[in-house]
Amino acid sequence: MNLALKELLYKMADDQLILGHRNSEWTGFGPILEEDIAFSSMAQDKVGQSLALYTLLQTLGESDPDIVAFTRNANQFHNCILVELPNQEYDFSLIRHFLFDTAEALRFEALSNSSYEPLAQLARKIRGELRYHTLHANTWMKQLGSATEESIARLQNSLEVALPYALGIFEPSLYEAELIDQKIFIGEAALKEMWLTKIETIINQTQLQLPDWKTLTPVYGGRIGKHSEHLQPLLDEMSEVFRIDPTAEW
């Protein structure tokens, strides 16, 4: 059970940490002040949630959260590739935020019934916080997805780029059957079905078009440490200060 549980916790913690870092790159650069604040707040939430998950891993025998977060190389990270892609323009960041956070909110909702009680407790807490993230994403998707010709075209383009990566969130793990049998987690396939319904519900309230899901090939690899060229530079930047003096007291 330990290996399956650890793999699940690692991929969730790494997703939160890496997307939290990407969100923080909007600090000072948001298209409007409110969005600057929103992405910065979501960054703080996600990095804090990753810390809580790394702390759970520590209770299962893994290293100190700072060591885990700041000293691994890209091939030791289990995040999906979607979260490591550069922010690009605001339209891409919004689309990724919408696609990822919808899945994340459903994941924590499901985990609030996990048989692993410490994770269930944490999930019951985090799911409430994530309502603010999905509220934010859905509000802007509905507004900009039906606003001007340019906003619709930009979002449509980013949606098409991001969707194969978004399907990579649900890359099956080696331990799916074990996690499901032991009622730790409902499994990636079940989560993906719930996600598709939710995504369709929101997109159908906009002028954006979803492609036929069958024509999309998911981009896998992130969960087993095979990442894009974008992750290592992110990690180098994120851990730059820590690596100067890992024993410094803050």
């Binding site: 604040i37 979501m42 949630q49």
Partner: protein
């Protein structure tokens, strides 16, 4: 036990100095055996950067009174805005922060669209941003007094 609660009452939220941690609802368990005091605390938001600071403040307040504190951060009893006491809600309002609405009314985030202005009590207000200067605050605008204000977010 009353004496210990009284000590904990003196520890305030570092960002809202009128609100004690007890009234904020983040102290979820207190037990004493002689001089040994066990306290469980839980963050308002998981990413709250003030958690370690508040934990140290609780430890130091108890030590100053001669107790031996054991403070643990726990998610056993998660924080929700309903754990803020009536006294705490009044203190928030006086401080200029709109208190969170009762969670019984809070089935959908649409409840966030307006809230009562803590300055003029008008309901002619609008949510400008569900995210604010700290994780636990949202930003509103009051059309009656024509000023922005913050709300302690319901969770």
């Amino acid at each position: 036990m009353n004496k210990i609660l009284h000590i904990l009452e003196t520890v305030k939220d570092p960002e809202i100095p009128v609100l004690s941690l007890v009234d904020l609802g983040v102290i979820t368990h207190v037990a004493a055996e002689g001089k040994i005091v066990t306290v469980k605390m839980t963050p308002t938001f998981v990413g709250c950067p003030a958690m370690d600071y508040m934990k140290a403040e609780v430890e130091s307040a108890l030590q100053q009174e001669g107790y031996e504190p054991h403070v643990e951060i726990s998610f056993e009893k998660p924080w929700s805005s309903d754990l803020i006491s009536e006294k705490g809600k009044a203190a928030l309002k006086k401080y200029g922060l709109a208190p969170p609405p009762d969670k019984k009314l809070f089935t959908d985030l649409e409840i966030l669209e307006t809230t009562t202005c803590p300055r003029c009590n008008s309901n002619h207000t609008e949510l400008k941003n569900p995210f604010g200067p700290t994780l636990c605050r949202a930003i509103y605008y009051c059309y009656t007094c024509k000023e922005a204000f913050e709300q302690f977010k319901p969770l």
